[in-house]
Symmetry: C2
Subunit: 380 residues, 2 copies
């Protein structure tokens, strides 16, 4: 086990009817900016609940944080927030709204352009912010990371800032999510866990068990969500699992990978493909290409998550990778690039981008442009 | 899943050589009281490491917090702390030292007698405190609870206060622990998980998986620790599992039991039997007596933790309970009262105490004095 420092101070307020607690959770005397994406929160009643809870508070609204939030939009929010003397942000929506709000919170106390913060990878300070999370997927509600895009250059990078003060998670908010969004969310959760698990074996028995437990949970709830998106118990586990998959709880003392995410981000940046959908394509490719390096963990994963115990080692690894791809297909997602109309040109562009930047991703820092291209070619 | 609020702000500083970080972790300008148990930290080198790390800081030492810390001792520490203007506490030792320090921290800002705080069950305030945890077991290093005894009345109760600011966990500190303490610690960890798991089934798939993962980890590492207490990787998982078993991470949205602990506390209060050793006796008795109520979870537990899939339901439940008792015996612990020289008189005294207090413990609030007596009689 590696040495590590863990701290996660976010207060999680979970369950039915918890949005009403907003009034007591936000400190008195704050000038609040409430941030939103599109209008879905108006259709599903969340907006009304938030307005009722904020009655009597001093707040303004900022609308229009898009999926894969762009610095171009967020610059406007930062300017408005500074003009209006905002000192507390409340994000209402999914991971994109919350990620965008993290850059707004950081940009509010930064003198230069907000894109600088993204390029530095870490904000030095931020005003306090919180969330009502309506789309479980990114774990953004209980971590300090965010991923921001820049339209003009088709770039997409992660940065870190402070943690949310609190996040309210009401599983009933997920009842009206479009089926494709749910599928992408489940894919995102699954791959978050895999990025922290599919690494060198034997680093921590406890962390391995917890990662495997979340994977098993996602596999178990996925068909049940498809069957009935109004089953509170199932949607509650969906929502909780999303948070636990990326709040540091399964990352203690173990190495991480994230090569799949880095390649997936490029697919999103170049083709606008939804984040979770990009991961469903790339992850099986990463496993196929790096099966030698990840041999030990692939065997453990096959056995513990899919119950694969029969056959020789290579056969079991084949099965584990096939089960993984089959899981994504069961969600209704593509797992091959041509299904999304993506071809060799994109593979070459991503190879070029990685090589030009001189990066090498993954646990072993060996996923260069050439290896990324190999991964993507295995997804043809 | 029940509604819940979760927040755990403690910073965990985990790994080899981390005690040296004390100097930077404690805020500047504090008047520190360092609290200790007996002299074991002098024998194993921890004391020297702490002194080196605190060089130049303004601190006093308080020695003599005993196993099952007593209010009688802690009152002295509170008086000393008040006299000396202490405003930061640092506990060096196991759960007893840390639990005692929690009462000192709370008593420092309370005008009356410290036992009042224990009886109220919750401190209204406390000065900041932190720990170097040397005996993984209680989870006290990352939670806000503490259990305090009162010698004159042979009472033992839990109370809650603020969380530790930080806790340093160096697995090397566990190399020199006496084998019996390790066995009791493993028992304690196991039962902490069971108290949060062996309840109504189907409350949360994610929490169930995490609890089962910790139980599997404890079962897996126990024989390895016996074999080689200097295996860093195994001792690191031992230490991490102890923390994760009682820091709230497996308690989200699920009901809890704690009847075994309440009965165990009485055995400790009456006979001075080590906490973990008391639980190894009581838990199998609780499962035997409440097997009807806990039927569904016992079947799940048997299958997922011990791989019991053969036989009828009652047979599988028998096996699951037998495997549980066998696990404690494999640690070298007693699982029957007569082995510890405890007889009918104690059973009657515990029945009388529960009935006099009018308490009914456990998830179902049905473990009255009579049921506690039944549980204990099944341990004869």
């Amino acid at each position: 086990m590696n040495n590590f420092v863990f701290r996660n101070p976010t207060k999680l307020v979970f369950g039915k009817g918890q949005i009403a607690k907003l009034a007591e959770l936000i400190p008195a005397g704050k000038k609040i900016m409430v941030t939103f994406g599109g209008g879905s929160v108006k259709a599903n009643g969340i907006y009304d609940q938030v307005c009722r809870a904020l009655e009597g508070k001093d707040y303004i609204e900022f609308w229009g944080i898009e999926p894969n939030p762009t610095v171009e939009t967020l610059r406007k929010a930062i300017a408005t927030g500074k003009e209006q003397g905002v000192d507390f942000l409340l994000a209402i929506g999914g991971g994109s709204v919350l990620d965008g709000t993290k850059l707004i919170a950081s940009g509010m106390v930064y003198d230069g352009d907000a894109w600088d913060i993204v390029l530095k990878g870490r904000a030095e300070a931020a005003i306090p912010y919180a969330s009502v999370m309506t789309l479980p997927a990114t774990g953004s509600e209980m971590n300090s990371g965010a991923v921001i895009s820049r339209t003009e250059t088709k770039e997409k990078f992660a940065f870190y800032t402070s943690f949310p003060e609190f996040s309210i998670l009401d599983p009933e908010a997920t009842y009206s999510l479009p089926a494709h969004q749910v599928a992408c969310a489940l894919s995102d959760i699954y791959v978050h866990v895999m990025e922290q698990y599919m690494t060198t074996p034997g680093q921590s028995r406890a962390m391995d068990r917890w990662a495997e437990g979340l994977l098993q949970t996602v596999i178990e709830i996925a068909p049940r969500i498809k069957e009935n998106q109004h089953d509170y118990e199932v949607m509650a586990d969906f929502m909780l699992t999303a948070t636990l998959a990326l709040n540091g709880f399964i990352a203690m003392g173990v190495s991480q990978d994230w090569a799949t995410h880095m390649i997936g981000h490029e697919l999103t940046a170049l083709h606008g493909i939804t984040h979770g959908a990009s991961l469903a394509i790339v992850l099986p490719g990463t496993l196929r290409t790096l099966r030698g390096q990840k041999r030990g963990k692939l065997l453990q994963y096959g056995q513990r998550v899919f119950g694969i115990t029969e056959g020789g080692e290579d056969e079991r690894i084949d099965k584990a990778i096939a089960c993984t791809e089959e899981f994504f297909r069961s969600l209704g997602l593509s797992t091959r690039l041509p299904e999304e109309g993506i071809g060799e040109e994109t593979v070459e562009e991503i190879r070029r981008r990685f090589n030009t930047a001189g990066v090498a991703h993954g646990e072993g820092r060996n996923v260069t442009g050439d290896v990324a291209a190999e991964i993507l070619r295995s997804c043809m």
